[in-house]
């Protein structure tokens, strides 16, 4: 699974993304975030305020119950501030 991080999430994690293989019980966005928190202290800190994290699955916004599969592109980022 390809993870991408943007804005301060990239800063807190110290990298723009990574390839990770979550365990089989991770089937949706919410479960993925729960598992990501256990990967490292940096991941836990970056995801501490879950309300400040938006998720896109294959470049579409996704809620906590959206399914995730091996091979998906999952992006984590703060609320957008363009324009």
């Amino acid at each position: 699974m390809k993870l991408l991080y943007f804005a301060w999430l990239r800063g807190k994690l110290g990298k723009p993304g990574e390839d990770l293989t979550p365990p089989a019980h991770v089937t949706n966005v919410g479960e993925l975030l729960d598992w990501l928190e256990t990967v490292s202290p940096a991941h836990k800190a970056a995801l501490a305020d879950r309300r400040a994290v938006r998720v896109a699955v294959n470049q579409d916004y996704a809620a906590a119950d959206h399914p995730v599969r091996p091979g998906d592109e999952i992006a984590l980022f703060p609320p957008v501030t363009g324009g």
């Binding site: 804005a7 800063g11 992006a75 609320p79």
Partner: protein, 150 residues
């Protein structure tokens, strides 16, 4: 038309191109967003726009398609820059052309309001205090919300 680019754009040339050779357009509305020097953290030295290549273009395309489905718009253009910009530099151009002004003006405002809350861009402000990611604003959410269909 959607363009996401690092380079600046020529407002006059872009707007002229939208109506060139056409006689059905009665009004052209535009909005240009600029880097403002004044911030809550003090004088801005620069602003860096980050985006999500791929998803950004996809979202902007959907926002434009939504505008075209709601208003009788003859031509539309969104240009959004990324990278490090200095105070006074242009960030974004949104323009809509239509037979009549109401569709052009409303469509233009809709595009910028929705772009601000839905397109994956993030602003990093540089001041003497260092770099600070800009937080999303409730007022932007409210501006976008009023275009939601009930």
């Amino acid at each position: 038309m959607i363009r996401v680019q690092a380079e600046d754009f020529d407002i006059g040339a872009e707007l002229s191109r939208m109506t060139a050779g056409r006689s059905d357009i009665g009004g052209l509305a535009s909005f240009i967003g600029l880097v403002r020097e004044v911030t809550e953290e003090g004088a801005l030295k620069a602003m860096t726009l980050e985006h999500y290549p791929g998803m950004t273009e996809k979202r902007l395309g959907e926002i434009e398609a939504e505008a075209l489905s709601r208003w009788p718009i003859s031509a539309s253009l969104i240009i959004h820059r990324y990278g490090r910009l200095l105070p006074g530099e242009r960030i974004v151009l949104v323009a809509t052309a239509a037979s009549h002004r109401q569709a052009a003006l409303e469509g233009c405002q809709f595009l910028i309001d929705w772009l601000k809350t839905k397109a994956p861009f993030w602003k990093l402000e540089e001041t003497a205090a260092g770099g600070q990611w800009v937080a999303a604003r409730d007022t932007d959410d409210h501006a976008a919300e009023r275009w939601r269909k009930s």
